[in-house]
Every structure is written in C-alpha cells, then in structure tokens.
C-alpha cells in the first residue's frame, strides 16, 4: 500500500490551484473544529486563493499533491485528494542547525484516509526538504489534533517544544 500511495504523490501544478484552495480550506476548517483557538479569519479563503499562486512560484516552498483514482471517463483527470506544504528556511545562528525544513501542512480528504496517503505525502515532503539541504525537520501540530502528532511521530519525529497560549483579557 505504501508504494501505491507514494506513486499517487506528485508536485503541485498551476492547474491544481482551485483544488488546492478547496483542500486547504477543509484542512484549516478541521483544525479550527478541533482547536477553536485556531479558528479561521473571515477572509481566509480569499487570502488562500491569493497566496497559493505566490507560494507555488517560490523556490524555498514545496507544494505536493496526492491524486485519487480517475473516474474512468475519457480524458478525466485524477482528482486531487490531498496535499502537503513545506518550507526550507535558513534561520539565524542561534541553535547549531540553521538549515531547517518545516512541515507546514498535510491534509487528506476523510473518505480516502487509511490508505497511506498522508504518510506518503510526509515522506515525499521530508525527502524534498532534505534534498534542499535541511539539517533538521520540524512540524507543528495542535495538541487537540493528536492523530496528526501520532502520525508525525511514527515518521521519526520527536517532540521538541510545547507552544502554550494565554488570553490577556483573562489576566
């Protein structure tokens, strides 16, 4: 299943932009549902549609998609059922490793989960960031979405830091 899932992953193309925007809003919506402190701003959709084409043109950003099965109709393109985004950064010289690969987002539609697509997206993204020169890879996940944390840990990542939050109107 892992090989099959991996073969469904490819680099995103301009023609994927609309599907990517839809998937990203579903991803952000699921995060907001699990963690209300990360709920969406009113113009999140518009910002996503503006920003995705910019991201796609950036050398330090990696956008990949997972294709589902084509419908079988002539010339029917395989639908995009998942995506992942990463960023390669050179950070200031505070900690020893300054070339950091960040796993920013990974999402697979609910009805195709359990087929290894999220793991394949993570593997391909990890390899792409490593190929750019990343010395360490980092991924942040809401505590409330602990399934994401478990998947990332299975890929060899280990907890580094907790991010805590406080509202100032409760001080």
């Amino acid at each position: 299943m892992a090989t099959e899932a991996r073969s469904a992953v490819r680099a995103a193309r301009r023609s994927d932009l609309q599907a990517l925007a839809d998937l990203r809003m579903r991803f952000l919506g699921e995060v907001a549902h699990a963690e209300p402190r990360l709920r969406l701003l009113a113009d999140a959709r518009a910002r996503t549609e503006q920003t995705l084409p910019v991201w796609m043109g950036q050398d330090d950003r990696i956008l990949i998609v997972a294709e589902g099965e084509a419908s079988g109709e002539d010339d029917a393109a395989a639908p995009i059922v998942g995506y992942a985004m990463g960023l390669f950064s050179t950070v200031p010289p505070v900690l020893r490793h300054t070339h950091v690969g960040e796993i920013l987002e990974i999402y697979v539609l609910p009805d195709v989960r359990g087929k290894g697509l999220a793991g394949a997206l993570l593997d391909v993204l990890t390899e792409a960031l490593t190929g750019r020169g990343a010395e360490v890879l980092r991924a942040a996940a809401p505590i409330a979405g602990n399934a994401d944390v478990a998947r990332i840990e299975r890929a060899g990542y280990q907890p580094l830091q907790y991010v805590l939050e406080r509202r100032l109107d409760t001080v």
Partner: protein
Amino acid sequence: MEGVPIRNARRGDIPSLLLLWNAMMKEISATDSRFALHARAQEHQTAQFQRWLQDEKHLIVVAEEGGRLITGFAIASVTAGNGWQIPVRVGRISDIYVAAPRRRQGVARRLTGRLLDLLYETGVGTVRLSVAVGNDGAHAFWRSMGWDDLEVVLQKGVEPGQETAPGA
C-alpha cells in the same frame, strides 16, 4: 511582599543580559542536545539585543537587585498572525530566565506580569510561548499561571542518530 524591582532594559544591560542568556541556553542544552548553540550564537545574540532595545515591537524587562545586579530577564515581541487563523496579532514571549540562586522568590512571576502588562498596552489579546519538552518545571510553572497547551513542535534530525529527545 515587596519584590525585586522590574524595569525596562537599557543598552547598558546588554553584558548582563548576555551572561544570563548564556546561562539559560547552557541549562536548556544540558538537558536536550537539540538546543546546542551555534558557534556564532554569541555574536548574533549581542547584535539582537542591540536591535531589540531600539525596536518598539520588542519588549525586554529585567529584575534588578540593589540598583546594580541584574538577576533575571524576559523578552517578548509583537508579531502579525499567520493571516488565516486568529489572532490577527500575537504577543510572543521568547525568553524568560532567573539566575539559579534567585529562584523561588517570585521573580519570574513578576517579570511575566510586567511583560503581559506591556503587551496588553500594545493592544495584543493573545500571547504565546514555547517550552522545551524536557523542561517539566517550566511547563508546570506556565500552566500554574493559567497558560494552556496549544501545539507541539516535533523535530527530526536528517542524519541517523543525529539528535534525540531527552529520555528517548
């Protein structure tokens, strides 16, 4: 109880700030090698302190004993949110440290209180900070102050066995 005075940092505090920052990083990296410092960290941090003290988006406060001895410091900044999720602006506490002999005297609470007051004055409604996973004392401290876990940051070294989490 009257505590040690807390005040905004000044340029003349930079040598003391660097000493305390080094002590803080030494403590953190002693328990987790993933926080080992870069060879140019000193040089970089000196420049950072100089920049931050002139930048209104950075707030640095210090605890000063007897009008001359800096025994703790805390740093925060105000940044834009990510653009899709709340908050629109967020305060971030990046560093807080109290010299070991001065702990358990409420200095960290006072430093935090002053920073939160200053952040509130900037109009920020949400503040975030990070705690290393092995630093159970700090994690418990922040939770006792009303902070809640939001996210976990995970890391993987590229080379096999390059770095591991404490206790892994």
